[in-house]
Subunit: 561 residues, 2 copies
């Protein structure tokens, strides 16, 4: 028996249980039997037809494959399960080096920004790897099939690929890619991991600014593109974070941490890790998260303050810590988080606490300088999206140390009404920032000698004015990034100041007692400060909301994802 050709359906097989030919009417099969036979016949016919179609398609594909010169050069890879341990030795290129790879055939992993079929013979893809994007072309030829062009042009956005291609210089700079002078002429393309479609959020939308205001309502930009609200972005954070702007923010954040440790490490600071679970709500007890610690209550650390000072009492001389800080503050603003990263330091002083301020100022000047060189590309990328001004630093290299009373005077002269020992409101702080920028030409400065009453109980009072204290804040673009002070290193004075504090603190309470007692045994004079890492990043870049500087931000409304 010859097989049917694709165009000829196979003849239906005779049903086995069909009625015998001829025969007497009354002896014929019943109606139901006839119906059944008819059904079975149809079923058999359908089955045969399906079988034929399947066969026909297989043959068609085989025929096409026989003609597809590229059939080994594209497709979907199986799930990477590490079947082989021996590496192939195939080098995956970093697209940052594309300049040096002109006219070479390279292999690289990337993902799809978008892919589009231009014609049966031509498709374009925008491919991304890290902060680089490149245009890729796939064109049918006698060595590259139309089938491959179709496949490449239809790959879903955000799929991960392994691409082989020639690096070719282009005549006209490519607008849509960060790599302007080269494109890739694809020779092989494999989908390593296919992205499901549609995406819950477009990465392209995540590249554009968040809406003004609290950032929650969707808007439409002048160009008609959607402005996606911050909450939508944060609800789909793993997609949102793919945006180049977000990669840049977190590369900078990582950089600030590294620079902090580099500078202080060279100055002999020891990196410490103090406990985040505390047996007592030591620093006053307000705004603290309580947890169940086996059969008793415990609390999350609001700062490493007591511990870093206890380590100075343990003669560690200079300590730094990078760690989470927890604040149970029900503040739903653009500059508060319930969990953020503290950059803390504490050090012995020899003569006065301005030694600490000098270290802190030099540290920040170092960080700014290095951000401007090592992370210029990322800084520029983010600032350009939000149209943010350069971060101005004093030309003299000397950071203004403005006495708090002088700050008050500047504000009063500018029309603000406030008393000599009042704390500054956030708008007043920002106002002072503008005045300082005008007068000193810097976005970074220090306020010194804060009123004692508005500082923590462990702050050393000023020897010159009992209503002032040896304490300071540091500001970027008019917003506080650090609070610091000389601390009281005498147990009796400390206990006294705690009792007199508003609200009073019992120096003999659990948790506090160990801290106070640690100053009975020759603790040297010392001071320090604590930065909010996210604030440094936010104000360096001029971002409208602090949540943008936390990978998975936590606020009173948000603990997921």
């Amino acid at each position: 028996m010859t097989e049917p050709t694709p165009s000829q359906p196979a003849p239906a097989e005779k049903p086995a249980a069909a009625a015998p030919a001829g025969g007497e009417e009354n002896k014929g099969p019943s109606k139901s039997a006839l119906k059944k036979a008819q059904k079975e016949k149809e079923k058999a016919e359908k089955k045969a037809a399906a079988k034929a179609r399947e066969l026909a398609e297989r043959q068609k594909k085989e025929a096409a494959d026989a003609l597809d010169v590229s059939k080994e050069d594209y497709g979907e890879l199986p799930l990477c399960g590490s079947a082989e341990f021996k590496p192939t030795g195939l080098k995956r290129e970093d697209l940052s080096n594309v300049e040096s790879l002109e006219d070479k055939e390279i292999v690289f992993r990337c993902w799809v920004e978008n892919a589009r079929v231009q014609s049966a013979k031509l498709a374009f893809l925008n491919l991304r790897q890290g902060l680089n994007t490149v245009q890729a072309v796939v064109a049918a030829s006698d060595k590259l099939s139309k089938q491959m062009v179709k496949f490449c042009g239809s790959v879903t956005t955000e799929s991960t690929l392994v691409v082989t291609g020639l690096v070719k210089r282009v005549q006209e700079p490519i607008k849509s890619a960060t790599i302007k002078n080269f494109e890739i002429h694809i020779t092989k393309l494999f989908v390593e991991v296919k992205a499901q479609s549609p995406l819950p959020l477009q990465v392209d939308d995540a590249e554009r600014p968040i809406p003004s205001g609290l950032g929650d309502e969707e808007e439409q930009a002048d160009d008609g593109k959607p402005i996606v609200g911050l909450n939508t972005r944060l609800n789909n954070r793993t997609i949102d974070l793919r945006a180049k702007i977000n990669h840049s923010i977190f590369v900078i954040k990582s950089g600030v941490c590294a620079l902090f440790q580099e500078f202080l490490g060279q100055k002999g600071f020891t990196l410490i890790h103090t406990p985040k679970i505390l047996g007592a709500a030591s620093e006053g007890g307000a705004n603290v998260f309580e947890l169940k610690y086996f059969d008793r209550p415990a609390y999350l650390a609001q700062s490493p303050q007591f511990y870093k000072q206890m380590l100075i009492a343990s003669r560690f001389q200079k300590v730094m810590e990078i760690g989470p800080v927890f604040r149970a503050e029900n503040s739903n603003t653009a500059r508060h988080l319930t969990e953020f990263t503290g950059l803390d330091l504490e050090m012995e002083i020899q003569e006065n606490y301005h030694e600490v301020m000098t270290v802190l100022e030099d540290l920040m000047l170092f960080i700014f300088k290095e951000l401007n060189t090592r992370f210029k590309k990322e800084t520029d990328l983010v600032r350009s999206v939000y149209h943010v001004d350069e971060f101005k630093l004093p030309e003299s290299g000397k950071v203004p140390r403005i006495p708090f009373q002088e700050g008050i005077k500047m504000l009063r002269e500018a029309g603000e009404e406030l008393g000599d020992y009042d704390d500054l409101t956030t708008p007043q702080e920002k106002h002072l920032g503008r005045l300082v920028l005008e007068k000193y030409g810097t976005d970074f400065y220090v306020l010194d000698q804060f009123p004692l009453a508005i500082r923590p109980a462990y702050t050393m009072p000023s020897p010159h004015d009992s209503k002032l204290s040896n304490s300071y804040d540091m500001f970027m673009r008019g917003q506080e990034i650090l609070s610091g002070a000389q601390r009281i290193h005498n147990a009796d004075l400390l206990a006294d100041m705690m009792r007199k504090h508003d609200p009073p603190i019992d120096p003999n309470s659990a948790g506090t007692k160990d801290y106070v007692e640690s100053f009975r045994y020759g603790c040297p004079p010392h001071g320090g400060g604590g930065f909010g890492l996210e604030r440094i990043v936010q104000f360096w870049l001029g971002l409208p909301n602090i949540r943008m500087t936390s990978l998975f931000p936590r606020d009173p409304q948000r603990v997921i994802p």
Copy 2:
């Protein structure tokens, strides 16, 4: 009127209300009046005597001061309150540089290990600064008073001093100090901060080993000196931490962190900070601390696992994190803490997960090498106290990657009874450590391809044996320091494995859903691992208890200080 000499008490003043001289008996004062007068007379006499004594003492002191040629060169400094901001420019020397300061007069801050008056003319002090100790001599001369000798020899242990003195070479090496060839001839000595006496714990006692066993009971060493229990030390941790051995441990711990970041930073890893407060107890829900997050429950992160993988899904390619990890495990052993520091990394893989193992092995070899050079002094100091062997590394530089099944075989041949897919007990792990040391000559090695059933649900199964998995542990001296694996990067497979896991995990539950969904949009294949920082330090140094490697350790019994 001449003032009384010190040896002559001043004459008592006549009481103003005394009875008039003479007079008739019946006209005389009443008995009670007499009594009263007598009392007042005595009171006045006492007062006068006290006044005289006070005057005498003052004069004596003035006379002595007049004779005290050193009166400007010693004493107690007032509380450092930063009265002056202008620095004096006086350089405080670091005793590490003593070699280059021979015959120079230097100023340095230090603290008192002990001080003793040898004679009226001679006192010795042992002074410490950082890890250095030096002997200091103060000898009476025509330029240095006996009063000063007495003062210096009586300074309380652990007081903080500012000392001026000549650096002098000695003939015989000094046994009691780390600086053997020099001593300080004191010319000035000021107590900057006086330590209260007695100390709750002697720093000298903290330099000696903790008791064997669980470290809680006090013992006596062969030399009769007390062996103070670990709990006593931890209850007085700020004094305990002053010991050189403890400073060394934490300088090394700080060093491991810096080396971890240095190595991975150069390889392009981004430092991340993932949330420690989670809206859901994502990884199974056992051993997790619950807290009150405003009006709802929340949980402390048991690891950054889900988040570091979600960042790989966000295309971060290579991430590292150093942060606290919380385990509500009621384990009171020498190697468990409820809060410790995780050193985590996660990275894309190109072909197979052995790429991750290579990074991890190279990382640890780099850390060991640098600890042996940059932190040799501290390492030697700690190991000498506990008589710990050198940490052996493979001479070939190749870290043994032992398949789990091969490890089982080695243990069976050595007499252990266990099944092919059983997990190893702690004693079996230690036994295997000894066998590996014997066979491969290394204290550091990897076990590869663990049974799937004993690993987390997100572990990639082995493509060769469905009962095995692409996962590994790393060991130091036979104890686990890292757990790692290739992870499942396909959402459907992950959800399936979660449901089949023992105990099952609902892939659609809060917290877990975002994690699983993040693998729908083209997440590249990846793997990673998490080290326990305290374990690396513990096993590098060969310490008997992990609490010694945590500044303020947390265990089920301890949340204070």
